[in-house]
Amino acid sequence: MTTAERGVWSALRWAVARDLTLAARSPAAAVLAIGFFLLAAAIFPLGVGPEPEQLKRIAPGVIWACAALAMLAPLTRLYEPDYAAGVLEQLALSGRPLAALVGGKAIAHWLAIGVPITVAAPLTGLWFGLDTAAVLVLVATLAPGLATLTLLGGLCAALTLGADAGRGGGTPLIALLLLPLAVPVLILGAGAVDATENGLSPAPHLALLTAFLLVSLVVAPVATAAAVKIALE
């Protein structure tokens, strides 16, 4: 490895370790995210009725949408606390590659928030009457899908850094920014489960989801680092 590469990996590992440690100290965020996800999914049958066929049909989209929405609120905690405490500035000035630090934060956030939601998802599968194959595909799509949403969400969170909540900042703004970007992921994720339910192969969906994740892994941290620099100017 060249010195530069070593710098990137070590910065990445450092950021992941730090953010995971912080997350472990306040597990409330993960618990709330899971709670929101499950509650949001649970109120749909109350709205549309308990008819099993209907629930099975709307399940992929509803569950996926609720998972995406559950990712939103925790995003405000991805950069705001560090920004307010001046830590972000220190990180930017530290000489470590900012994109790697940003990427590390995203990975840690996915592990702390995205994975718990993914693990809780089979419960919603039970509620909506999905069969085993569909539940497996649901989990298989949520893992890379929520990772992509974390990367994109981090970008949106960084863009809103320093925004005045009174002028329309905060979670609703992040939602407005993130959800259009999340459309392809949502379509692919829900589409994969839908395909499985109809006896078709979810392979193309999963392949595309993976492709999206890979592209986001390359592009998002760079753009997010730029957004952080804008916020620190």
């Binding site: 863009l159 320093g162 005045d164 329309g168 407005l176 259009p180 379509i187 100017e233």
Partner: protein
């Protein structure tokens, strides 16, 4: 021609202010003339459609509006790239000057598409690829405007909005293709509003004339808006004081 002028004056709000002010009336006038010509051709010369009768004539605004909504987004993102790479104030202001116009065109495309859908497909809304993409394009525009509004510091607001515009532009084709693919999977929603009449030469001419009118309108309005932004931000500066009192 216009592009060279833009380049030359891109750096200085002061000179752009004057040039934009002089060009605006010409663009406005051209817009009105082109629109009149387009509508004359479209209504007076172009024949009724075999299947849709006269209703298809909504196409003369629906399609140009949809085109503009996409072109303006790309132009906005282009100015965003300039703003971030060259740090020119004027480029950042152009991002903000274009966004509302682009958003309005998106709204027009959605409304006219919806009205067109009712007599032709029996419903005011269909989740066809184009309308759905237009809807999300509107959200992208609103996002740029909302993000800019949320930041109190204008410089940070400008740069954040510019970055978001660029990110959004990359996503526009991605969103479009994924929605198109989604559409083909769900057979029920695969009616497309653009399964439109085969374009007779006259229909195409009318549409192009209206599209040109829309471009001139865009220049006129965004020039006026950027002058407004310059006034808002630099209202105290000397060169502007002279202009305002002149």
């Amino acid at each position: 021609m216009t592009r060279r002028i833009n380049w030359f004056f891109l750096a200085s709000p002061a000179s752009f202010f004057a040039v934009a002010g002089r060009l605006t009336p010409w663009f406005a006038g051209a817009s009105v003339l082109l629109l009149a010509a387009g509508l004359y051709v479209g209504f007076g010369i172009a024949p009724d459609d075999y299947q849709q009768g006269s209703v298809y004539r909504i196409i003369y605004i629906h399609v140009p509006a949809a085109w503009m909504s996409m072109f303006i987004y790309l132009l906005m993102a282009g100015y965003g790239v300039l703003a971030l790479t060259f740090n020119t104030r004027l480029s950042a202001m152009m991002v903000l000057a274009l966004a509302p116009t682009g958003a309005w065109f998106t709204v027009i495309a959605l409304i006219t598409g919806s009205i067109w859908g009712r007599p032709t497909w029996g419903t005011y809304w269909v989740w066809d690829a184009r309308l759905t993409s237009e809807l999300f394009l509107l959200f992208l525009y609103l996002g740029v405007l909302a993000l800019h509004h949320a930041h109190a510091d204008p410089k940070r607001a400008d740069r954040a909005a510019a970055l978001l515009a660029i990110v959004g532009a990359i996503n526009v084709p991605i969103i479009y293709f994924s929605v198109k693919w989604w559409n083909t999977l769900h057979q029920g929603a695969s009616i497309s509003l653009t399964a439109a009449p085969k374009m007779a030469m006259t229909m195409l001419t009318a549409m192009l004339l209206v599209a040109l009118a829309a471009w001139c309108y865009t220049f006129a309005v965004s020039f006026t808006r950027v002058r407004t932004i310059i006034l808002e931000r630099e209202g105290r500066s000397d060169w502007l004081q002279k202009k305002v009192s002149a």
